[in-house]
Structures are given as C-alpha cells and as structure tokens.
C-alpha cells in the first residue's frame, strides 16, 4: 500500500501537470481561433456524450499547421533559431574548451576554487547576467567607450539589438554548461597516455589532437547538447539583446500568444518546436547512456 502511494503521488502529479497540459496544447493546435473566452473552438462538450465527442473530433484539423507552412515568417523563425543555436554552440565550445582544458591542467590545490568560479555564475540569476550585457554593448556602452578610447574605431559600433549581441549573450550564459562536462572528461584522462604519445614521436600539438580531443569527446558532445537544446527555444536573450529583426521561435511563440492572442497558432508553433527538439534530445540521451555504460 505504501509502495502504491509512493509511486502514485509523483506519478499523478506529473500526469496532471505535465502530460495533460501538453495534450491540451496538441488539441488546441488543431482547433480554430475564435473571438470568445477562451479564444478557440471547438470546446470539448462532455455533456453531449459520444456524439458530442465525435462532432468535436471532426472539427479538429491541421489548418494551423498549413498556415505555419505557408507563412514565410515561421519558416524563417525556425531556420534562424536553428542557425543561431548552432553557431552559438560552436562559439561556446571554442570559448569553453580552453577554459576546461586550463582547469584540468591547473595544480590540484587550485581546482576546487576554479570549479567554484565556473559554478557560481550558474547559480546567479540568468536575467541579471543577460541584463549586465545591455550596459556593455549599447551604443554609449563600456565596450564602445573602450574601443573609442583605444582608437580602434572612430564611431560607436552598433552591437546591442543585433544578432551578434544574441550570440554573445548565449555564449556568456551557457558557458558553464559547456565547461563542466568537458572538464569532467578531461579530469578523468590518464596523463601517461600523453607521455606515451610523445615518447612515440608525437609533437605536443598532434598529441593534443590525437589523444586529448578524442578522449574528451563525450564531454564535448554533452556540452554541445546542453547549450544547443535550451538555446533553440531561448526567449529572454533575443528579446533583451536582439533587435526587432532577430527571429527566434521562442520569441515568436511569446508574441503570438501575448500580443496576437492567437492560441491555436501559438500551440502549433510549440508542437513543431518540440518535434524539432526530439532528434537532439534523443541523441543527447544516447550519449549519456553510452557514457554511463562505459563507466560501469
């Protein structure tokens, strides 16, 4: 009996507050927008029984999805989200790998502190970390002041409200997610393998590419997915740092819902975003699974 309660309580909680809401999104994505409260039809009429249910199902259609596929805005938003997420994942890797590598090479007594320094921003408010960049990247911001002062540029650069600012924001906020798994992989690495490679005539650079990189592959893959997956649906960064022409699907969904109040289209946007995410999520899970099996 106790076991039943133990299973049932979290189970029912998740069914009611995770699974059912998602099915509602799916259902509304097949409904039509209407000027009513709530603003869509048809409504589920349980009182009408089976006939009512059949009538309800027959009114559902893929109209919103057809609308999405015909309007270039949504295509562009999905593609540009994929592009922004992909480019910023690569940039985060390029910034994060040397940090993780430096941490793994650092003397033992520094490591706990270095690790703490990477984790600390992760606990700090995401919103505040994005906000900090507004003052740096704006036209009269610190970066422009500094560049003008050094004489590298003569007129302020327009960085805030462009895609560049979005890239910077994503790299900055997701950096710990990239550094930590790579560091974990590098830390476990056996240093004698590098010595062996060098004894066998490898230069230090080629030993790095032939030994270190392959051995940290699992960490690199995990880090890339941990950045790519949340970056794809990102809302806060494009809306605070991006410009009006920065198209990201999280922002489109938000505006479709709050500004246009078109719930069925917003729901259809959400369903397609999820379909796009299934592939990277499955690949990520597989990588983690392989990792666990190798450790055992």
């Amino acid at each position: 009996m106790r076991r039943f309660i133990l299973i049932a309580v979290p189970y029912i909680w998740l069914v009611v507050l995770f699974l059912v809401p998602f099915l509602i999104v799916l259902k509304i994505s097949l409904s039509d927008a209407a000027i009513s409260i709530p603003p869509y039809t048809p409504q589920m009429g349980l009182s009408a029984g089976w006939a009512g249910f059949k009538a309800f199902v027959s009114e559902l259609d893929f109209e919103n999805y057809i609308f999405l596929s015909e309007d270039a805005l949504y295509w562009k938003a999905y593609l540009s989200s994929l592009q922004i997420a992909l480019i910023s994942t690569v940039l985060t890797l390029l910034v994060g790998y040397p940090i993780a590598y430096g941490m793994a090479q650092a003397p033992d007594e520094w490591r706990a502190t270095l690790l703490l320094l990477v984790i600390l921003p992760f606990w700090t408010s995401f919103l505040i970390r994005v906000y900090a960049w507004i003052g740096i990247l704006s036209n009269e911001g610190f970066l422009n002041q500094f560049l003008l002062w050094t004489g590298i540029i003569s007129t302020p650069l327009m960085i805030l409200n462009t895609d560049t600012a979005v890239y910077i924001g994503i790299v900055y906020t997701y950096l710990p997610f990239m550094v930590l798994p790579i560091y974990a992989a590098l830390e476990k690495m056996d240093g004698s393998l590098l010595e062996a490679a060098e004894d066998l005539g490898c230069s230090r650079t080629s030993a790095f590419w032939l030994v270190t990189i392959p051995l940290s592959k699992a960490g690199i893959i995990a880090g890339c997915f941990l950045v790519f997956i949340p970056a794809l649906g990102e809302f806060v960064i494009p809306s605070l740092l991006g410009g009006s022409d920065t198209l990201m699907i999280g922002k489109v969904l938000w505006e479709e819902f709050f500004s246009n109040r078109d719930w069925p289209v917003a729901s259809a946007v959400a369903v397609i975003l999820l379909l796009i995410l299934i592939l990277p999520i499955v690949l990520f899970q597989r990588n983690q699974q392989k990792q666990r099996e190798m450790e055992q």
């Binding site: 133990l6 919103l127 900055y172």
Partner: protein, 272 residues
C-alpha cells in the same frame, strides 16, 4: 603528468575575465551617483535607498520568496519520492512513461512548459496567482530534484537498507533511519537547486502568474525592457551578493564535512 603552460594561464585568465567582468561592472555602477549608468559621477548609495522604498519591487520580492520556498519544498518531497521509485521501485505499470515524464521537463523549452500549464489552468478554470506559479515551479523543479537525488541513490549500497529490513525495520523506518541520512546531502542540494530555479524563472512565471501576483523576475524584465536603470543594478548587486555568500558557504561546509568523513573513515580503517 600535468603541464600548466602560459597558454593555460592565458585561457583561464581571459575565460574568467569574460565570466566575471560584466558582473563586476554591474556591481561598480550600482554605486554610481549619476542616473546615466555608463558615466561615472561619484560614489553614492542612493539607488539602494530608492530601491528599498520602491514598494512594487518589495512586493514582488516577497511573492518570489514565498513561491520559491513553497515550490522547492514540495518539489523536494515529490522529487525524492520519484527518485526512490525510479531507483529502488522495481518494475511497475507505466514505468517508462514515468521516467520519460521525469526527464522531459529538463529539456523542454520554458515557453512550451509555460504555455501548456497556462492552457491547463484556463481549461480547468483555476484563477492564476501565487498558487498557480507554485504548481508550475514545483512541476519542473521536482524533475531536477529527482535527477540529483537518484544519482546519489544509485551510488550507495543497497545492502545497508536490506540489513535494516532484515533487522526488523519497517520499510518506512529503513528509509527514514538509513537511506535518508545517506542521501541527505543530495536532498539538500536538490532543494537548493529547486529554490534557485524558482527564484530565477521568468518565462514560466510570466505565463502562469495572473494580474494579482508579480514575481521579481517579471518585475525586473519589464523594467529592463525600458533600458538600463541604476535601481536594477542595485537590485542585481544584492542578488549576486546573496548567491555568492550562499554558494561559498555551502562549498566550505561540504569541503569540511567531506574532510571529516574521510578522517572518520581512516580512523575506522585503522581500528578494523
């Protein structure tokens, strides 16, 4: 064999400068006298004073803390139960669905979680407010708690629990007296994680909060959309300060206790 080269030193210096400079600038300019946030005009604490007199920020902060405490506590209980079921529960009907529902919210975009919960609350006619934010935060943070706790449950020896059961403990007592003390550090870090996630959340709270309840991130977001303001800098500094003190204290405490534990283990090994 480790070689800490100049290259490593440079990449660490640049990396940490990148991570910390934005926050340091933010903190310094929260003490700026001028309303222009990028021009230094002298030291002043006036923005802290005007922040503390801003009732709408204080109200939002209070709502946020209430939501965070309630949701992280419920999430810790539910998440620990879920972790226990997943690791020790054996087979039961719908186990695959259950573990799917635990892992899916971790990777679900916040906009989708928020949208779907809002549609549920409207569908069942639940008035939006503090209560609905708590429900929403509990749901996604219980999954994080359960991942943290289950990694601890996996790594510890099941035979301790079985010994307690053999010696006549009821399953509940075995959990309370043996399992819980062992997994306690994971349960506490799960609670802290849930608490921070709740404090930090803007997107899900924006969907599930009604007009009656505004959390601090929602309040900050609407202020930040208007541009940089010194009050927000002051508020950010306070929040960064609290987090820094918390994380540093927690890491010192964990380090001390792990040293003490090692000493005990060594002492036990010597006597044995």
């Amino acid at each position: 064999m480790r070689r800490f080269s100049w290259f490593n030193a440079t990449s660490l210096t640049l990396g940490f400068a990148f991570l910390y400079l934005p926050m340091i600038i933010l903190i310094i300019y929260s003490f700026n006298e001028s309303r222009l946030v990028t021009v230094w005009a002298g030291f002043s604490t006036q923005w802290y004073i005007s922040l503390l007199q801003n009732q709408s920020f204080l109200d939002a902060a209070w709502v946020t803390v209430k939501v965070a405490i309630a949701s992280s506590t419920i999430a810790t209980v539910l998440g620990t139960m879920a972790a226990y079921v997943l690791v020790r529960g054996g087979r039961f009907m719908g186990r695959t669905l259950f573990s799917g529902m635990i892992y899916a919210p971790l990777v679900m975009p916040e906009v989708i979680t928020g949208l779907s919960l809002l549609l549920l609350f409207i569908g069942i006619g639940l008035d939006r407010g503090i209560f609905t934010i708590i429900l929403a935060h509990t749901t996604f943070s219980m999954c994080f708690v359960s991942v943290v706790v289950s990694s601890r449950l996996v790594s510890f020896d099941n035979s301790l629990e079985e010994a307690a059961l053999d010696l006549g403990c009821s399953p509940f007592d075995a959990f309370r007296l043996v399992t819980l003390p062992i997994i306690a550090p994971a349960v506490i870090s799960g609670w802290l994680l849930a608490f921070t996630l709740s404090l930090d959340d803007l997107v899900i709270a924006s969907f599930t909060a009604g007009p009656s309840a505004t959390t601090l991130p929602i309040r900050i977001f609407s202020a930040v959309r208007m541009g940089v303001s010194p009050e927000i800098n002051a508020l950010s500094t306070i929040m960064i300060g609290i987090v820094t003190v918390g994380v540093v204290t927690a890491s010192i405490v964990t380090k001390r206790s792990s040293i003490a534990q090692k000493r005990d283990e060594q002492a036990a090994a010597r006597t044995a």
